[in-house]
Symmetry: C2
Subunit: 302 residues, 2 copies
């Protein structure tokens, strides 16, 4: 019988990649310590700062929010209603229930009032749904956080997400993307600081934390994510992880430790302000304003 390394009680959990046996109670402690260590390692934020957590209603973002509160950080939630039918309704409810249960502040924003729902956007734009949705979300998350006086925006990206993106960008040696693959993007003209405190926590570990903390999260995946290439690459990496536990963590951490410093040396991309909305953008017209333009010209045609 495996025993908890902390208290000697029967272990409920065995973490392969860390070769660690833990009981439920000490797993929660381990998880929160690991989040805290990651925050400190990358100088993400302090207890004095106001943090906005991007909440989707899923295990990662709710676990993150929960852990931050338990660790004593000032963290409010922000939910963007993407207008994806039943999926959005359910996930919004999970986020609201969580906030209410823990007496936390949850801000919400309705994408269809700001620009259009994701299904509508998708019908006007040929990009993969995840990339389209991601770019629109990033825009409103940053704008909202800045306007409401939050200095930090925290997202629930986990090790599986980060290592899969790293994997794709590595297969193509997409150096410009690799340069941005860091768990902290510092504040910059018009941008709040962006952080990923779960970057060293696997998907399984975050699901386990949610379950053991009694967090009620939405289990189904977004219907638009089906067939996304990132899912394929996650599967590949999971095959490697099964053969050699710790592969994902090593791949990601060693990138940050050994390769990232070499890449960082190179020059920054030049950022400007969008001519229409004034938000920071790499082009004279930002992504969202370009989408708005496309939408209105399509509607005129009809």
């Amino acid at each position: 019988m495996r025993r908890c390394i902390k208290c000697g009680k029967k272990a409920q959990i065995y973490l392969h990649s860390h070769r660690l046996s833990l009981c439920g109670e000490h797993y929660l402690e381990w998880f929160e310590n690991r989040v805290e260590r990651t925050i400190k390692e990358f100088n993400m934020f302090t207890k004095e700062e106001k943090i906005l957590v991007a909440v989707s209603g899923g295990k990662d973002s709710l676990s993150l929010w929960h852990a931050l509160i338990k660790l004593g950080y000032q963290a409010d939630g922000f939910y963007i209603n993407l207008g994806i039918g039943d999926y959005s309704q359910k996930s919004l409810q999970k986020a609201k229930d969580f906030a209410e249960k823990h007496q936390l502040t949850l801000h919400t924003l309705d994408l269809s009032k700001e620009i259009a729902s994701v299904p509508e956007l998708k019908s006007y734009d040929s990009r993969p749904a995840c990339s389209l949705c991601g770019s629109v979300k990033r825009y409103y998350m940053n704008k909202f956080a800045r306007e409401k006086g939050y200095t930090v925006l925290a997202t629930g990206h986990n090790l599986d997400d980060e290592s899969a993106v790293l994997f794709v960008n590595t297969l193509n040696w997409n150096v410009e993307y690799l340069k941005r693959q860091y768990p902290v993007l510092p504040e910059d003209d018009g941008f709040v600081r962006k952080v990923k405190p779960l970057c060293k926590i696997s998907e399984k570990e975050s699901a386990l934390y949610a379950v053991l903390s009694g967090i009620d999260y939405i289990e189904e995946e977004c219907p638009f994510s089906e067939g996304a290439t990132s899912i394929e690459h996650k599967l590949y990496l999971s095959q490697l992880e099964d053969k050699s536990p710790g592969t994902k963590l090593r791949f990601y951490s060693e990138f940050l430790r050994k390769l990232y410093p070499l890449l960082k040396e190179s020059s920054k991309g030049n950022l400007q302000k969008c001519e229409v909305c004034g938000e920071p953008s790499s082009n004279s017209l930002c992504n969202v304003c370009r989408l708005k333009l496309k939408l209105s010209s399509q509607k005129e045609k009809i």
Copy 2:
């Protein structure tokens, strides 16, 4: 019906990753041109230099030797008898037959006379057979080439080999190894130049060239290579290649183009001479002399 892009005759070959249809004759031409372009791209060697081709009797090294001769290079062969029973006997015969058929010079070296056969070495050393054998072969190939006045040593490493090694070193971000992952290692104190002219040719392409050129090569794999991790990673990359033809080539070429220049900047490892044999080595005692020492002390015990 697919037609040869060169002559319009019925195509025998379709190269997925290049989206190219070719007849047999023009495939041979394409292959040789591709080898020539790789030699030029990386300034590997000129027609005035004496090249030693490391020949194993397999498709890659014999195809390389064949192509170099057809392209007008001065290339002699070098076969190391590893003493792996039937496998070595057969592969030596293939190499000899090839040299005789094309009236070329083949040098041979018997490993068991120099140090010990690979099976014997394996019983004294715990390293994986491939890594042990590789390190001993590199030593004798370099020594032989230098002593016989060859300026260049060419090996038949193909795109599948190179991308698999790159893949492993990338998963671990083994920066010191990545720095050496270039198809030309320039001559250095005690080292002849080492080149890999097939680095942009896939395993399938090289097998096809051998078959269409009437080269009789050994098809079986070395019995010691079974279970080697490199085979696993090759399989894995091949899955990616099947889904998206060109993945291996892009992964390898873009590494050379975008990442390698950033890595190269960093400092060189300091090379010294082995205190016993005087060959270049990264330690005071080279790999081979260390093995010899081990062997003799083991034999004394018996």
